[in-house]
């Protein structure tokens, strides 16, 4: 994955465990700033190694870490220079999810090596969404669950996310939520 993702992972470890923990992780994996170059595409294997090593340090399973990272990513992108684009993508949960592919379309233009997911809203009613996630990657279900949870947090909603179907290249998420405010 793009180095941008690695940098977000580093930021999460910094915030959760401090800078020392990240430096120890770097040492263990024999990586450094050259593996954190924003515009560089790295093998997914490296990204997963980083996640696994972070998991060990966070005392979580790899899946739990992926989920936490998904949730963190929404917060990460919501700050700093990506914040305007996040805001522009949608101002409520349903419209944000409906526009995610358009966001990633622009991401694909800026980062030509990215393998980006597709999200389709199959059902949309107040407080209820059925969203199909498609990707040529496998094993990303916990990450997507975390991302969706992060989006609920972003829009001050609370509720349940359930996987209702797992296909070969797609997963159906059922989201039931209520606005907190």
């Amino acid at each position: 994955m793009y180095g941008m993702i690695h940098r977000a992972m580093r930021q999460m470890v910094h915030e959760e465990l401090g800078e020392e923990a990240w430096l120890a992780l770097e040492q263990k994996l024999e990586i450094g700033p050259t593996e954190l170059l924003t515009g560089m595409v790295y093998d997914d294997a490296l990204t997963l190694e980083i996640v696994a090593e972070a998991a060990a340090r966070l005392n979580l399973s790899v899946d739990q870490t992926l989920e936490a990272f998904g949730q963190y990513w929404v917060r990460f992108a919501g700050q700093g220079s990506l914040s305007s684009i996040m805001k522009f993508t949608g101002q409520n949960l349903a419209s944000f999810i409906a526009n995610l592919d358009r966001l990633h379309l622009a991401v694909g233009a800026a980062m030509p090596g990215a393998r980006l997911p597709a999200f389709t809203t199959l059902e949309s009613a107040p407080g209820h969404l059925v969203v199909e996630y498609r990707s040529d990657r496998v094993g990303m279900e916990p990450f997507v669950k975390g991302l969706l949870q992060g989006l609920m947090d972003r829009f001050h909603a609370c509720g349940e996310i359930a996987v209702v179907h797992r296909g070969e290249k797609s997963i159906l998420f059922d989201i039931r939520y209520q606005d907190k405010d």
Binding site: G3, M4, R7, G32, P33, T34, L36, L37, T38, G39, G80, S81, L82, S83, S84, I85, K87, F88, T89, G90, Q91, S95, A98, N99, R102, L103, L105, A106, V107, A109, A110, M111
Partner: protein, 521 residues
């Protein structure tokens, strides 16, 4: 009609569209208008909600035909819309979009749903925002990489410093072992058993010396002896290498006339300088040609005439080496930059060759420069000071110990400074045995006092010592007694120790024979 779309479909393509009938009333509108201009209603006169910037509203249908550009401003807000007015029998479709700037991105209440899927402005604006974010991160990347480089450089420097100190201590020990073993063989070598044991110890010390050599390499230390060398001799001894450097389609002509004069240089540095100058000449003659390598002795200013730094102390006898090619020559612009580090006129040149020659020449108290005539060729001038010769007062120092009693005419006086007591003792004994008059000092401070009291022919000093170090002593000695020969010896030379041109240098562990040779040179 070929195609017909529902309002919803048009709204998906153009969320801010409007339709007005022939009476200029709004008859349909997209979801974007509903969201952002909630007071606008179907049936409302268009002019009540919008100003059409580029039309007189009353003349709208008279002026407009087919498809025309159109620009609207909402009356109750500063929202701008622009696009095309598509005229048809039943009225006009205003295929407009909200005009949005990048600044509005962050604080506008609009989002992607307010724009059509294929809206190129939105796509490119998002692209710009993303690229800016990436650029910001890349700047952070660059800083991180620079820090990382600095960290590794610091680590390397620390390692090399530690290696240097270790080599220093180890070399001192080896020096004591070597010098004392020499002492043993000198005094008891006739006893075969002792002689054999001394030989074993010498051999082991030599191996230890190889280990320190690797430490020295790690700490980028100079290990080369600086000694007076006959320039012509070095050139002649290395003709094989020099010939192969210039290659087979270039003839190398020699005209050596430095008459056995010597300059104080390190052998390998001097050879490297020659090789670099020859490479430079060769590169100017891709089609072949001739290089004339000549040497002579001159007197006057050592530095090239263009050098403003030239001072009177730089005048004296010098050995002039010239390397003249018959190549393409260099322009003035190239000439003026030829010795800059990292500057190269060749596509695959490193730009380090000539820069290193200049470093060498300056460090030795000389100079190097180029002169050139475009189309005719260039000549490199390398000037090196002639080594001072101390008139030998003594026919001592045959170089090999134990050659019988030296024929002492008048004893040469050596001021010896060494803080390691065992090394000092062994050196004193060895030098006295060779017929020298030795004044031994165990610190720089002691040496300075001695310098004030007596005259000496040679200063032989360790470099790294607590208090006044060897280079400081040597500098003062040269001021007090300028004719004195300076020989520095060390197993470690810190970067801060600047050697003056003409000072000799011997690397520890000391070999007695080599030391005697330098004293006599």
């Amino acid at each position: 009609m070929l195609l017909s779309f529902s309002e919803k479909q048009i709204g998906a393509l153009l969320p801010a569209f409007l339709h007005i009938d022939k009476q200029l009333n709004i008859s349909a509108m997209g979801p974007g208008i509903l969201r952002h201009l909630p007071h606008v209603r179907v049936g409302m006169p268009c002019a009540e909600a919008f100003t059409i910037v580029n039309y007189d509203t009353t003349q709208f249908f008279q002026e407009g035909v087919n498809v025309q550009p159109v620009s609207l401003i909402a009356r109750d807000s500063d929202l701008h819309l622009n696009g095309a007015a598509i005229f048809h029998e039943a009225g006009c479709l205003l295929a407009v979009r909200f005009a949005i700037t990048e600044e509005m991105f962050a604080d506008s209440s609009m989002d992607l749903s307010d724009f059509g899927h294929a809206d190129p402005v939105i796509l490119s604006t998002m692209l710009i925002v993303l690229q800016r974010a990436m650029l910001e991160e890349s700047q952070a990347n660059a800083i991180e990489l620079a820090h990382e480089r600095q960290r590794s450089a610091e680590l390397l420097e620390r390692t090399s410093r530690v290696a240097g100190y270790m080599a220093h201590d180890f070399n001192n020990l080896l020096s004591v072992i070597r010098l004392n073993t020499d002492r043993l063989s000198r005094q008891f070598g006739k006893d075969e058993k002792i002689g054999k044991l001394a030989e074993i110890i010498q051999e082991m010390a030599a191996r230890g010396s190889e280990i320190t050599q690797s430490l020295m390499t790690l700490s980028l230390q100079r290990t080369d002896t600086r000694q007076p060398l006959s320039v012509d001799q070095v050139i002649q001894d290395n003709m094989g290498i020099l010939d192969s450097v210039v290659g087979s389609n270039i003839t190398l002509k020699l005209n050596l006339d430095a008459d056995g004069h010597k300059s104080v240089v390190s052998y390998s540095d001097f050879l490297n300088a020659l090789i670099n100058l020859l490479i430079n000449a060769r590169e100017a003659m891709p089609m072949g040609g001739q290089i004339a390598l000549s040497s002579s002795v001159g007197f006057g200013l050592i530095k090239g005439d263009g050098d403003a730094d030239a001072d009177v102390t730089q005048s004296g006898s010098y050995i002039a080496i010239q390397i003249a090619d018959t190549g393409v020559g260099m322009s003035d612009a190239l000439l003026s930059r030829a010795f800059e580090p990292q500057f190269s006129s060749k596509p695959n040149g490193t730009g380090l060759g000539l820069a290193s020659v200049r470093n060498f020449a300056v460090e030795m108290g000389g100079d190097v420069w180029l002169e050139s005539v475009e189309g005719k060729g260039s000549t490199a001038y390398l000037h090196l000071p002639v080594a001072r010769t101390v008139a030998p007062l003594v026919a001592a120092g045959s170089g090999a110990p134990n050659t019988g009693a030296p024929a002492v005419l008048d004893k040469q006086r050596i001021l010896l400074v060494e803080d390691e007591p065992y090394a000092l003792e062994a050196l004193v004994e060895m030098l006295e045995a060779e017929g020298y008059a030795v004044t031994a000092c165990s610190s720089g401070e002691e040496a300075l006092i001695a310098l004030g009291q007596d005259a000496y022919d040679v200063l032989l000093t360790d470099v790294v010592m607590p208090g006044q170090n060897g280079t400081e002593v040597a500098r003062d000695a040269c001021i007090v007694q300028p004719s004195m020969k300076v020989i520095l010896m060390s197993g470690y030379v810190p970067d801060s120790a600047a050697f003056q041109p003409g000072w000799l240098f011997l690397h520890k562990p000391i070999e007695s024979a080599k030391l005697l040779q330098l004293i006599a040179a």
